[in-house]
Symmetry: C2
Subunit: 223 residues, 2 copies
């Protein structure tokens, strides 16, 4: 994970178990739809049910688990319509993030993005065409979002929506064919950021995400 935890990272049982469960859900160790039994989990992680329940409430508002009153909690199951919904939200939010990034990104920030692209390019040349898996794509998006300088937007995308995105990507990462195109779209975006062109940056990012969505729709309809 290229992400750095917040500076004021809590160190309570509730916080720790939240992160642990979050990651277990995202990477699939806790399968979608599986029941999250409080006695079982508290025994497994050697904590009492109090902090565990607090953690579950937080995961609930991250939309990673779904609660049924008196029926317990289950890991969310993302079906195609829901994934599409998420991509519509990403389109709007990350488009805006790109626009704000064009306004606020530093020269150093742009250099970092360029460096990221260069590494990816070299990797593609070496391995013969495959843009470094989903992780590289996510890393790139993370940095653009960070450059927006809008704390609430950063939180909404990186601390809430992106766990859902990654949860989905774990089972269906980028197709090789889409990979190269995505890389070019990233290059295009960096150009727009460098020119500080807010509208263009927003447009490019939105198109980028629309194409990703269309790719997923097609990919899943053919299976």
């Amino acid at each position: 994970m290229s992400e750095s935890e917040n500076a004021t990272t809590e160190n309570t049982l509730a916080s720790n178990i939240t992160r642990t469960l979050r990651d277990a859900i995202v990477c699939g160790d806790l399968a979608p739809g599986s029941k999250l039994s409080e006695p079982k989990l508290s025994k497994e992680y050697n904590i009492s049910r109090g902090p565990l329940r607090e953690a579950m409430r937080r995961l609930e508002s991250m939309k990673l688990v779904k609660y049924v009153p008196h029926g317990g909690a289950r890991v969310i199951t993302l079906d195609l319509p829901q994934v599409i919904e998420i991509y519509h939200i990403r389109e709007a939010l990350e488009g805006k993030a790109a626009a704000l990034a064009a306004k606020n990104i530093t020269d150093e920030g742009i250099e970092n993005l360029k460096r990221l692209l260069k590494i990816a390019e070299e990797h593609m040349a070496a391995t013969g065409g495959a843009y470094i898996q989903a992780d590289a794509d996510i890393d790139f998006h993370y940095r653009v979002i960070q450059a927006s300088n809008n704390q609430m937007l950063i939180h909404t995308l990186c601390e809430e929506l992106y766990y859902l995105v990654r949860m989905y990507r774990y089972k269906s990462s980028l197709q090789p064919s889409r990979s190269l195109q995505a890389f070019k779209e990233h290059q295009h975006l960096v150009l727009a950021l460098e020119q500080r062109d807010e509208q263009l940056a927003e447009l490019i990012m939105r198109k980028h995400i629309v194409r990703a969505r269309e790719n997923i729709e097609q990919q899943l309809l053919n299976s």
Copy 2:
């Protein structure tokens, strides 16, 4: 409040106290920045600290309260930069909601919006110019968002962001001068929805929110 609670409304102490505290924060009974002491609150509402803490965690992820590890929770204080951040997010999200609404709204939905505008217009004629306070504006936005048919978007806006918006609006509602213009913008949007013009609907909604933001910026800089 014109909002209807979810069909599967939980009826646990934790859920009830969440709603109670949420509303108390939104309407200002619990002032921004004030400390939320667990012993005090649990005594005041006659519940134990367990459910209360679960509620606090949920309010935390709704961004209505801020936690400091071992230091307790305080009601969030919205300063101008944060409000501006929220309006940028609203611009992106509600713009998208308007676009989706243009695609998905029913004829009946459009009729309902028209009726809403008509009532507002009559009220303006009667009282001499003032668009029915912030509530009417929020009600209109609510309905457009609902018409988007994107459940996750609806939840993000109506169950998360809008409590923050309302919390702010309670102390600084619409200026009379802005009121009439806002009404016209609403009319304009309904026209676009009626034509099922997604791009235009998005554009109008975004401009509407940009103007609201600019109005707030000006209003607060002059005080």
